[in-house]
Structures are given as C-alpha cells and as structure tokens.
C-alpha cells in the first residue's frame, strides 16, 4: 500500500465522520425547527388508509379538524405493514408524526419503544371507550391511544348457494354443524369456505377465532385444543371444503374468491360490508362458531389514534385537539361508516345499529372480541403470532402434522 493510498483512506474516513456528524446535526435541527412552530403551523398525520385519496371524506375530516385546531394538516398514508417501520425510523431520527393512526396490535410495541405518549401525558379522554377495545392499547396499566373504530371477523355466506345445498344458516352453531354444511355445499357442486392462512399477521388474525374458539390459549400453542383448531382447517383442505389457495390468500384475495359467487362461506371482516353489497348476490353474516357451540371470541381489529412523543411537548395540546375532533361522537359515526368499522363507544354503536340493523351481528361480535395483545401478552404477542402462522402453514401444506408443527412453534416462541 503506497503512501498516497493510505492518505486517501485517512481522508475518506475523515469525510465519513464529518458527513455523519453533519447528518446527525441535520436531523436534530429539523426536529427542532418543526418543534419551534408551537401551536400554529403544520401538523403531520400518518395513517394506514392508502385507499383514501385527498378528495375522500377521511382526508376532508382531517383537514377540517386541523382548521378547528388552528393548524394545517399534512397527511401521509402508508401501507399497514410499512407504517410501523416508517414510524420507528422516524422516531429514531427524532421527527415522528404529530398524530399517528396505527393498527392496534402494534400499539404496545410502539409504546414499549417509548414512541407513544400515554393518555396521561397527552390528555386524550378515553372514558367513553369500551374496555375490551381499549385493552389492546394498554401496557403496564397505561393507555397509549384511543381506538377510532373496531372491526372483527365473522362468516359471510352466500344465500343462494346455501339454499341450493339445503343448509339453513341458523343451523350452524358449532364446528360439527359448520363442517356438515360444507359437506352439503360440496355435494351440491359448489365450493365451501375461503379464508386467509398467509404467512403474515393476517394469517394469525384469521386463525385466532378458531384457536380461541377451541378454548386454546396463546401462552400454550401446543395444547390439544390448539391442535384441534389446526386439524379443523387441515381437514377442510384435505376434503376439498376449502381451496388450497388459502395458504397464499390475503384477506383481500380471499374476499375476491368469495365475490366470484362460487363459495358458500368466507371468513372476513366488517370492512368488506360495502363490497358485499356490490357483490351481486344475496349474502348474510353469522358469528364464527366456537368448537362446541356459542360464539368464538374473534380478535379485535382496527386502528388506534395515538400521539407520538415529541421533543417539544407544547405540541401535545394541539394534537389532543385534533384527536378529540377525530374521535368525537359525530365524526366517529362518519369515519366508522366510511371505514365500515364498528364504533368503539356504546352511544355511537347504538346510532349505527339504528341506521343499519344488519350491523347488530357485528356489534355483538365486537363485544365478544378479544385484543391480540390483551391478557398481558403485550410485546410477546408478535413472537407468538409469527410461530403460530408458521405452524398453521406447515400443517396445511402437509410438511408437518398439526401436533408437530404446534409443538415446534411452542418451543420456538418461548
């Protein structure tokens, strides 16, 4: 190595150091400048609703809430999975959004990372919210946001197919009667049920009603009850009641399969109600049955409105004003109607059912629902969930037996 090269390396190292310190200064100063704006100026809102563009009701609501709080709103929409990472990176760089609308199982993770302010700090009033919904956003006895709406899973059915197969929807009360109904549908030449068992959080979300419906606990994935839930799905695939494509289905592609009109049942959420009306065939909904009768607890879905930690704590009061505006009864009704969610407060739920009696099934399902991070699982949930969807996939593809797959999952999740 010649002297010139050595000098060159030393210089480039010096430049790297200088550049990185410059970058560090840059990020902190930008955080400071946005902070100094104080009560007026621009407030950033991040949400996971890329389907709503600037002219949508949701975007207009945000703007009007900003105007009411005396600030301008800059909204950015991300894909749900992308939003968590973007938020963590932004928090690391010291410029998180002022208001963050985020999927409920992520709240405890973000709170644990110190990204979110508790409702004690940001003064958001959560007294009206149903406790089982609020629980998903709680960690160590503190709440870290307010649900904007809730959704959960139920079974949509195709009226024409059930009629042709001679199945009465009311007769489906447990797993045995559901499986019997699927057998009849198949015998009538139609397809049985579609759901999503993809290797992401969506797969776990869709599996949990059956898992909990069997009486299994997330703390013990290898229990006999858990095995019975996986076996139920596996047998449906084996007997052709469910298509093989469920292994790669997202909830959207699963819905597309149901929308072809070839399937008797689809496990999906409230957010598909608007699409169901457009499907072109008669549909109905029933709650997902538990193994031996009754309604299975489904996981709560839906987003929380949170206020990320800022260097300038003076911004919280305006953020609180925006959040309160977004979640006041009138706006909640409008937003939850657009998102086709069930409202998180009883008062608004009553209004929703009064406007659309078909929502009654969903309101009841939301009452019975359970947060994924509840039961004090918090940040342990993501690890368990990953093992759970892996196990379900391994069992459905036949690469492992349900029992082996779940035993492996339990030892890996610990």
């Amino acid at each position: 190595m010649s002297r010139t090269t050595r000098r060159r390396i030393a210089l480039s190292l010096a430049v790297v150091v200088a550049a990185s310190t410059a970058a560090a200064c840059g990020s902190s100063s930008s955080g400071g400048s946005s902070g100094s704006a104080g009560g007026s100026g621009t407030y950033t809102v991040w949400d996971p609703y890329p389907q709503f563009d600037g002219s949508s009701d949701w975007a207009k609501l945000l703007d009007s809430c900003g105007t009411r709080a005396g600030v301008k709103i800059k909204r950015t929409a991300f894909d749900t999975t992308d939003l968590t990472n973007k938020t963590l990176l932004a928090a690391q760089q010291g410029n998180p959004p002022d208001v963050l609308v985020v999927d409920n199982p992520v709240v405890s993770t973000l709170a644990d990372a110190g990204v979110l302010t508790s409702t004690a700090e940001n003064k958001i009033d959560t007294s009206q919210v149903e406790p089982n919904l609020l629980a998903a956003g709680q960690l160590g006895g503190k709440s870290y946001g307010i649900p904007i709406g809730a959704n959960t899973l139920a079974l949509y059915y195709n009226k024409d197919i059930l009629k042709a197969a001679g199945v009465a929807p009311a007769s489906i009360t447990d797993w045995a009667s559901l499986t019997a109904a699927l057998a009849k549908v198949k015998a009538a030449g139609k397809k049985g049920i579609t759901f999503s068992a993809i290797g992401t959080e969506e797969g776990s979300f869709q599996f949990l009603p059956w898992f909990w419906g069997a009486g299994a606990q997330l703390t013990d994935l290898a229990s006999a009850r858990a095995v019975s839930a996986v076996t139920l799905w596996k047998d449906w695939l084996k007997k052709g009641y469910a298509p093989n494509s469920v292994i790669n289905n997202t909830q959207t592609t699963s819905w597309q399969e149901f929308a072809t009109g070839q399937y008797a049942f689809a496990e999906n959420g409230t957010w598909q109600l608007a699409n169901a009306k457009k499907a072109g065939f008669g549909y109905g909904t029933i709650a997902i049955p538990a193994a031996s009768g009754g309604t299975a607890p489904a996981p709560t879905g839906g987003e929380f409105v949170t206020v990320p930690t800022q260097k300038d704590t003076g911004r919280y009061s305006t953020s609180d004003a925006i959040v309160s505006c977004l979640t006041d009864a009138k706006n909640l009704l409008a937003t939850d109607t657009t998102l086709s969610y069930v409202a998180p407060t009883t008062a608004v739920q009553d209004q929703q059912v009064a406007a659309d009696p078909a929502l009654k099934v969903w309101v009841q399902a939301v009452h019975a629902a359970k947060g994924r991070t509840s039961d004090n699982l918090g940040t342990k949930y993501p690890k368990i969930s990953e093992q759970l969807w892996d196990a379900v996939q391994a069992a459905l593809t036949g690469s492992k037996s349900p029992k082996d797959a779940l035993s492996a999952a339990q030892s890996a999740a610990r």
């Binding site: 990185s20 199982p105 110190g114 290797g199």
Partner: protein, 329 residues
C-alpha cells in the same frame, strides 16, 4: 439491513480496479509531488471532495450503520432511543444457529444458480437469433424487453395470479391437457420453482440486451474468414462467437449474480418466502427479520443482509481476479 446497502458495495467491487489502473502509469510523476507548489494540490483535493463526500454519505455511512446494527443487540426500544449493547458476533451466531439458515442458504444458491443458468442461456440464444437482422427483428427484440420495463410489482402480481392453485390460467391450461392441478405457490415443493420461473422470465431481457451489444462488437470479417475455412454454423458459434463474447458474458453473469442474489420483490409478492420458508432466500429472510413481523429484529436482519453483501463482494473479487489474469495473459 436493507437491499440498497448491498448494491453499492457489490457494484463498487468491479469498479475497484478503476483506481488501480491509473496508479500504474502516472506513478512516476505522482511521486514528484514535493517539487510542486502547494496550491494545485489543494485544488486537486477540492475536485476530489465531492466524490469522496458522496461516497462517504451514501455508501460508506449506510454500510457502516448496517454493520453497526448487526453487531448490537437492538430491541425496538433501543433502536429508537439508542444505547443498544454491543454483542460482537452474537447476532451472526443467532442467524447461523437459526433453523431457517440452512434452507435459506440452499434456496439462495439454487435460486441464483438456476436463474442465472437459464437467463444466460436463453438470453444468448435470443441474442444470436436477433443478430441475424431479419425483418421485424427490431420489433420483436423490443417486445422481449417488456418484462424488463414492467414494474416488478405488476409482473410479480400477474405471475401470482397466473399460478394460483384454483383459478390460475396455468392450472386451467394444464387441466385442459389432462394434467392435475399443481399447487404452484402453496406447496412447499413447488414454490421455489415458481419464483425461479418468474425470475428467469424477468431476467432474460437484461441478458439479451448485454449479449446482443456484445455480438455487435464482433467483426463480421471473422465470420467470413471462418466460413471460408469451412466452419459450419455450430462451429462458428463455439469457435468464434463464444470465445469473443467471454468478457461480455463475464460482466453479464456477474451483474446478473448480484441482481439475482438480492431479488426480493418477486419472492415477497408471490409467496412471502413461504409456505413454511420453502421459498425463503437470504434477501427475504433479512426483510422478514427486520420488517416482516410486528416486532422487528433489526440485529439479525442486518446480519443476514451483511452475509449477502459479503457473498456478492466475494464474487466481485473473483471477477476482478479473473479479469486481471486475462489482461496479463
């Protein structure tokens, strides 16, 4: 941690012999610096500064951060607030011991090797075919570029529709021919093959373009001479085209290797690396560790990313070595 960090390093590797070459000849004049007045040297540094700053800011610093990430025990909390404890090679040990490591390595090797082989063979065959200058040759060649021009999300989503087990066009065509349905994307024994097929289709145009331009550089007189010597078409290909195309082939294969190693979008969109890790490569595994779950594991994710960088770098060095040998001989 991310795929962008791999590219610069890998592409910097072939360029690595760039500075080496000028050093060879102006070495004598360069040594005479003490004679010169000082100001021109400052000017030289001034001209150098933008490039060095650019390299430092966009290449060296991200790479340094990625190595740093892989050597610390990051939790979500320490990622945001700093103060992650240094754990040395702990993350690498975690990754090597992970039950996903062996299958991911195997899939990465198979995916890269099979993709490269078929892309190169098909690209070369098409390049030779299109160098014949028949009518419509340009139009047809332009059509072959379509896979390259399409956004990856479009082509990957289309492939995943076509290969759908129940409603895909591939299975309905096979069914028409009397072959039972194949679970292309949902069976552990087929998912890797499916993503390889899609990747080959996407990679052919790249090979076609590079090899076609390489063919243009071979003088026509050589073929005439070979024909006069009585060489048939097959012999002309193996004795003239193939040897003269070797430098271009080497670059094509190296770039192809780097691109294929880091392929992520196609696999993620089509199978998410599943079912049960059956199509997981290092690239998708790294993403899944870092971003794919609700609770990111940045440390191991960065470690897997660095392993990929090292593999790409190793092949870059092999290429430079081969090129040096060729130049000296």
């Amino acid at each position: 941690m991310n795929t962008t960090a791999q590219m610069p390093d890998a592409s910097a590797a072939p360029g690595g012999d760039g500075p080496a070459k000028p050093r060879r000849d102006p070495a004598g004049t360069g040594r005479g610096t003490p004679r010169r007045p000082r100001s021109p040297q400052w000017a030289a540094w001034g001209f150098l500064a933008p490039v060095v700053a650019y390299l430092g800011l966009f290449y060296a610093y991200p790479l340094y951060r990625n190595i740093d990430l892989s050597l610390r025990d990051y939790t979500v909390r320490s990622f945001v607030q700093g103060g992650a404890p240094f754990t040395g090679l702990g993350n690498y040990r975690t990754v090597f011991r992970d039950p996903t490591f062996a299958p991911a390595l195997e899939h990465t090797v198979v995916f890269t090797a099979v993709s490269l082989l078929f892309q190169y063979a098909a690209g070369l065959a098409l390049a030779v075919f299109f160098s014949q200058h028949f009518r419509l040759s340009t139009t047809l060649r332009a059509l072959f570029l379509v896979p390259w021009l399409l956004p990856l999300i479009v082509s990957a989503s289309t492939w995943s529709w076509m290969l759908n087990s129940d409603s895909g066009i591939v299975n309905s065509t096979l069914g028409w021919a009397g072959i039972g349905p194949v679970n292309w994307l949902t069976s552990p024994s087929w998912s890797l093959a499916s993503v390889i097929i899609a990747n080959i289709w996407i990679g052919i145009p790249f090979n076609l373009v590079l090899l076609h331009s390489g063919l243009q550089a071979i003088p026509a007189t050589l073929y005439e001479a070979a024909a006069l010597d009585g060489a048939n078409a097959w012999q002309r290909f193996w004795k003239v085209t193939f040897p003269l195309l070797r430098p271009v082939s080497a670059v094509t294969l190296l770039l192809g290797l780097v691109y294929t190693l880091k392929v992520f979008d196609i696999i993620w969109i089509m199978t998410k690396g599943g079912p049960s890790d059956s199509s997981t490569t290092f690239a998708t595994w790294s993403y899944r560790l870092g971003f794919g779950t609700l609770l990111p594991q940045f440390g191991p994710g960065a470690a897997v990313g660095n392993i990929l960088v090292v593999i790409a770098l190793a092949f870059g060095l092999v290429y430079i070595r081969a090129q040096r040998k060729q130049m000296s001989s």
